[in-house]
Each structure stands twice: as structure tokens, then as C-alpha cells.
């Protein structure tokens, strides 16, 4: 019966309508969050506190992953490039792949599973234990007091984390390529510098990570705020945050990359 219902045309239609409704609700939610950001501006301490939870606590995973991704790129890149005798381009390969793609994308994926899921769980739990209702009963808007500072903290920390990820990855590539394998250090850096453009590559990477930060934080906060106030509801919302964020990051990455290459 349940399977039949799920597969029926009516079921699909209902699901589609439901998704559109949810999207509309999510849009209204983010608009309200942006509109009630005044409190965060007046009291930067609220944002600083959330920067600690979203940014500082994500540092370890970001830095370690960045280092490893860079080291793997160093090995793989060297292996591929040496067949064409152009090992000296290793720096270019590592830097461009990190700055343009892997930095923003992998950092955002890690951010979604580390900070995003934590945000969803925290807000969902605050809802389930009536903390948000209590706040509202005390004439304090939870969107302004709880959601908006987290939103800004997420949007601020994402580009910083992505930059650290890329820098760490390039260092990892340098470790493997130059220190371990023995690619010429001079050509590693100089080729990188002549090939990586500040505006085209680095700034576009930063723009990507800001967009990803916006998307991940939005999804995480909305899932938490919209979670059914039960234990199952919160755990389901946390899972949904990671899944939806990851898909959103990859889809947005495709759109942004297409847009940026067209803009050249």
C-alpha cells in the first residue's frame, strides 16, 4: 500500500507540490533572516561566537584535508605530467585545480558535513526543546537572535576556510612535488605564478566559496528551523542538510564555472 502510494502519479504530484511549497518557505525564511540582520550588526559578539563554532571548529578538518588533497594532487599530477616531460608544470596543475575547483568545492563539502550538520542539529534541538518558542515568548525574535548570527558567521567563514584549504593544498603539493620527488623548486613556483591569475582564478574561487557558504548555511539553518520537533525529525533534518548541501554545492559549481568561462 505504502509503495503503491509512493509510486502513484498522485503521490509524485503531491511530492512535487510539496517541494515547491518548501522552496517558497525557504525563500521567505532567508529573506526574513536577511531582513533581521540588524541585531547581528549591532551586536557583533553574537556573530563572533558563531564564527567560533562554524569557523574555528572546522579548521582541523579543513587544514588536514587540504594538506592531503594537495599531496595526492602532487603525486597524481607528477605521474601524469612526467609522461609528457612537463613536470615543471606541476605547480600550475596543483594551484589551478585547488584555487579554481577543489578548494571551494571540497572545503564547502567538508563545511556542510561539519558545521552545516551541527547548525541543523543545534537549531532543530532548540526547536524540539521549545527553546525557540521560549525565546519568542520572551519577545525576542529567534530569527534575529539565533538564525541571523549563524547565517553571517557561515557566509564569512566559508571563503576563509576555502582559502586556507587551497593554501594548505598547494603546500601539500609542494611537499610532495618539490621536497619528496624533486621537481625544480624555481619552475614550480614561477610557472604557477605566471599561470594563475588573481582576478580570473583566485577571485573567481573566492566568489564560488562565498556562494557555497551562502547556500550551505541557508540549507542548514532552514532544515534546522523547519525540522519536526522530535528526535527523528532532527536526525532526519541533519541528514537532509548534508545531502541537499552537497548536491547544491556541486550543481552551483557547475553553473558558476559555466558562467565564469563564458565571461572570459
Amino acid at each position: 500500500m505504502a509503495i503503491h502510494k509512493g509510486l502513484s502519479l498522485r503521490g509524485i504530484g503531491a511530492k512535487a507540490i510539496d517541494s515547491v511549497l518548501r522552496l517558497g518557505y525557504a525563500a521567505r525564511f532567508i529573506a526574513r533572516t536577511a531582513a533581521s540582520s540588524g541585531t547581528s550588526l549591532r551586536r557583533p559578539r553574537l556573530v563572533i561566537r558563531e564564527l567560533y563554532f562554524t569557523g574555528v571548529l572546522s579548521l582541523i578538518i579543513i587544514l588536514v584535508s587540504g594538506l592531503f588533497v594537495g599531496m595526492v594532487l602532487g603525486f597524481q599530477g607528477y605521474h601524469t605530467l612526467q609522461t609528457y616531460g612537463s613536470e615543471s608544470a606541476l605547480g600550475v596543475l596543483v594551484a589551478l585545480s585547488l584555487v579554481r575547483e577543489l578548494g571551494p568545492v571540497v572545503a564547502a563539502l567538508l563545511f556542510a558535513s561539519r558545521a552545516g550538520s551541527a547548525m541543523t542539529a543545534e537549531i532543530g534541538l532548540m526547536k524540539a526543546t521549545e527553546q525557540l518558542s521560549a525565546m519568542e515568548m520572551m519577545a525576542v525574535d529567534p530569527i534575529a537572535r539565533v538564525v541571523a548570527p549563524r547565517f553571517w558567521a557561515g557566509v564569512i567563514s566559508m571563503p576563509l576556510l576555502a582559502a586556507m584549504f587551497s593554501a594548505m593544498g598547494i603546500f601539500g603539493g609542494y611537499l610532495v612535488g618539490v621536497v619528496l620527488i624533486g621537481v625544480d623548486e624555481g619552475s614550480f613556483w614561477s610557472q604557477m605564478q605566471s599561470a594563475v591569475d588573481f582576478r580570473e582564478d583566485i577571485m573567481n574561487g573566492v566568489i564560488k566559496s562565498v556562494v557555497f557558504g551562502f547556500a550551505v548555511t541557508w540549507i542548514s539553518l532552514f532544515e534546522g528551523y523547519d525540522a519536526p520537533p522530535t528526535a527523528e525529525g532532527v536526525s532526519g533534518a541533519t541528514t537532509r542538510t548534508v545531502v541537499t548541501s552537497s548536491l547544491a554545492i556541486l550543481a552551483l559549481d557547475f553553473l558558476l564555472t559555466a558562467f565564469m568561462f563564458r565571461g572570459v
Binding site: 563572533i48 571563503p159 576563509l160 593554501a167 605566471s194 591569475d197
Partner: protein
Amino acid sequence: MQRSTLDLWVGLFVVGGIGALLVLAMKVGNMSGIGVSESYPLVAQFDNIGGLKPRAPVKSAGVVVGRVAAIQFDNEKFIARVTLNIDKHYTFPKDSSASILTSGLLGEQYIGLEGGGDTVNLNPGDRIRQTQSAVVLEKLIGQFLYSKAAEGGDKK
């Protein structure tokens, strides 16, 4: 968690993030290069620019001396009008020539400037008279085949 420790960590985090951005800009990107210094414009006209892009480097004797600022199409003469931004430190004689070259076999295209012997230098906004267009591979192959065919004809 004490307030001050929290602040310290957040401060370190922000400094680290901005530091990483700066490292990317300075050490990895070419921000420290030509982009920031002052420049003056020169104009060059080409029959065909091939795959030249804005912001492509302008090199003289292999040294980057400027960048391509803009590429326009002249609809009266049907040629490309390329504006170059040349670093203020470098000056070139009036009879210098510009050609569109390719770095490596399939690399990106750039403009090569070759200094002439004139005593008067190019002023900002001047046009470089002598230009050589990009080599278009199809034309090259076409020429090659044509000459081969001609050779064959001779042999007969």
C-alpha cells in the same frame, strides 16, 4: 569556554583566513607582477588575432612588459584592434613591431613586441605600425598541402 579564549581563536581564524588569501594572491597568483603598477596604452591592428584573449601577456625578449587590455573589431577595415597596457617603466621605439605568438605548441597566445631602431619612442595611445597576425593552423596546413601539391606537379 572563556570569552577571551573564544575571541582569541576567532581572531586567529580570521587572520589565518585572510593570510591564506594573501598568500594565494602574492605567492601563487601574479598579483605581485605587472597587474598593480601603472601602465600606458598602445594600439595595434591585426588581420587575425587567432585565440588571443584580454589579459594575455605582452612580452618583449621573453619578459612580460604588459597585458592585453581590450580587443575590438573594426567593422570598416575588417581587422582586429588590440589595445595593450604597457608597464610605465618600459618604452619602445616608434618602429617596433608586434606579433601574436603561441607559447609552446598548443599553449596560450601572447603578443611579442620587438624593439626597432628609431630614436623617437612610442607615446601613450600611439599605434604600432608593424604587426604580424597569429598563425592559424588550418591556413598553415593549407599552405603546406598546396606547396606539396605544387612540388608533385613539378616532378611530373
